[in-house]
Symmetry: C2
Subunit: 377 residues, 2 copies
């Protein structure tokens, strides 16, 4: 029988992660600290908006780029954060930020194009670079001018100009929020390279000390802002995300919309109406709960190991004394599910812990983690 | 400023169609016979299932391949049509058949891979072939052994083996349902070429004389079956479609699922539960209405021009005396919106008329069409 697979598809693989999940599926009553979604329900006003949309028969195709009402609402929502009013025609709504990322990469990244990530990075970024045959550069999350100068040297030596700078702040997996002076350094690199900055702000609502700065407020001209409703309003499975671009990248958005006609077609109609309501639905109680858990887990972990201060999102990313693959396997033997750091970083000695779960589970899990760190040190 | 667009994205374009829609947007009170979706609402039991899913907080991620309950229900639904029980692990649910097609093409079609279409074809098929740098072959819809022999000669001359055979029956744009002996000919070609047959059955529910034969019932081993809920249950904007494969193509499905992790992530959770209900919700009243319209429009049109007998779907595809781009422009001047045949075929002298609209609009539009055909003949 012939090999039916295309050359490009041989490049993607999730077998390593799957091995962990397969192992995990076999244990009873796990302490699951691996979860990448909120454990609170969609807020009631947003659920009501869905039900209303269903009653109103909002079931046909929307415009490919998304409902104009949603794009206008997104523009208004973003304005105080990014400092300008994005034109609705420069906004595309798709089936989640993952879809937005794929459309963006298909549209701008070809063979050999250089993409800068901040390490640790969300695991989808390097996978997308590899799939699109791009070339990956990284700087560490704590970067300052010195680290950026090292990158400049690398780029010069390789004779390469960056095409895309891609990061999430707050970060998945560390929860870290980048400082304004760091964003300024990224803006400088973008200008030197004539690059696009893709700022993934999917966790921006989870900003416990109100320190988040939108990249576009520092560099409006070169930044596209990505966000959605998966994390803020617990809509992970409902598939609404968006990208808002400045005029400079209007041709990029247009091509993304064209490609969407042949791929996702549109974000689910009912859920786009729900998203409009989500934009004006606060989540204070949910945030207070998450902050309490953050403080709990940070308090326990910081006594035994080092970890970046988790400003936002709902993850912590502590150092561990052994390789993360081995640590995760050993944790499973103790009913504890974690995500190994090596999928987020070149450094394999860290672990991602999600605190989007009940406190008693979180506490028990954190104590087992601490005991393991001490044992293997 | 640099060109931010990737080489691949330069290959997609919808400007020709957009020109028509831009023209159309300017006319008041149009007779719109261009619509590609049912005008009836989602059946009430399916809407109730959505509301129930929302109340039950079905808003988190589903498994990447789709809810196991939905994949089991799809397997059961397809069994009497395709003659075997597809394994749930060989079924993938995505955000509509368009997404399924994109995942399939990414997974199997690379540069130079040969794909056979039946002309007229759904417009997305040639666009996907071009985007994936494939090589397109066609046979006419009325094909018999003679036309297949011509194809065999072409393939032999070009030294090419088909990798994929792709068609929709009932057809968009003609409504034609392929006969069993035609499916057998396709099966023969597939065997000779060791090709995958992708049978797009999205219109299979709209089968007015119950003549539809599933390709997989003729060639279970080599056929993947594509279907969804957009047309049968008016869920176009709600984004649920699926592909069911035989064991032979299990590796293809697995890679499609892996790629889905980086793209659509999952079909909207709430809508997957709705789809389970849709599989057991009959649409007899809706079908009776569509059949009545089909008979009405066929009766009017067949007096002035030739058209394939519209067995199913909700389109007719009559011949016109002039180029379809010109015909559509002239129709717009008379408030009539149609879709030009050239996007579905190498033959530019046909027009697609959708009868998914109210009878008074349909009748008035059909009469204007007939007058135009007579005038330009």
């Amino acid at each position: 029988m012939r090999d039916f697979l295309s050359e490009r598809i041989h490049g993607i693989d999730t077998s390593e992660i799957r091995k962990v999940f397969d192992l995990a599926a076999k244990i009873k009553d796990p302490l699951n600290l691996s979860i990448g979604q909120p454990d609170f329900p969609v807020p009631q006003p947003v659920k009501d908006a869905m039900i209303q949309a269903i009653s109103d028969n909002r079931s046909g195709y929307t415009p490919t780029a998304g409902l104009i009402q949603l794009r206008e609402a997104v523009s208004e929502f973003l304005k105080p954060k990014i400092g300008y009013e994005a034109k609705p025609e420069n906004i595309i709504v798709s089936t989640g930020v993952a879809s937005i990322l794929f459309l963006l990469f298909q549209t701008v990244i070809g063979k050999g194009d250089a993409v800068l990530l901040i390490d640790p990075y969300f695991m989808i970024y390097p996978a997308l670079i590899k799939y699109h045959e791009g070339r990956q550069y990284t700087i560490p999350e704590h970067f300052g001018k010195a680290e950026v100068d090292v990158l400049r040297e690398q780029l010069k030596r390789d004779g390469v100009k960056l095409k895309l700078i891609m990061f999430a702040s707050p970060s998945n997996p560390t929860g870290k929020i980048l400082k304004r002076d760091q964003l300024q350094l990224l803006s400088d690199i973008a200008a030197e390279n004539d690059a696009i900055i893709a700022s993934d702000e999917i966790y921006a609502a989870m900003d416990y000390e109100k320190t988040h700065v939108s990249m576009a407020s520092v560099d409006a001209e070169r930044t596209v802002t990505l966000n959605g409703f998966s994390k803020s309003h617990a809509m992970t499975g409902l598939r609404v995300g968006y990208l808002a671009a400045p005029e400079r990248f209007a041709p990029v958005v247009q091509k993304m919309v064209t490609l969407q006609q042949y791929t996702m077609v549109c974000s689910p109609h009912v859920m786009q109406w729900a998203a409009i309501t989500a934009l004006k639905t606060p989540i204070e109680a949910e945030l207070a709960l998450m902050k309490k858990r953050r403080d709990l887990v940070y308090g326990i972990l910081s006594k035994v190991t080092k970890l970046p201060y988790p400003d936002g999102a709902f993850y912590v990313y502590p150092d561990i004394p052994i390789d993360s693959a081995e640590f995760v396997t050993k944790a499973i033997e103790r009913r504890l599910l974690l995500v190994p750091g090596y999928i987020f970083s070149a450094n394999r000695k860290s672990i991602r812990i999600s605190y989007a779960t009940r406190e008693e589970i979180l506490e028990e899990g954190a104590h087992i983690f601490c005991k393991m760190v001490t044992e293997y040190s």
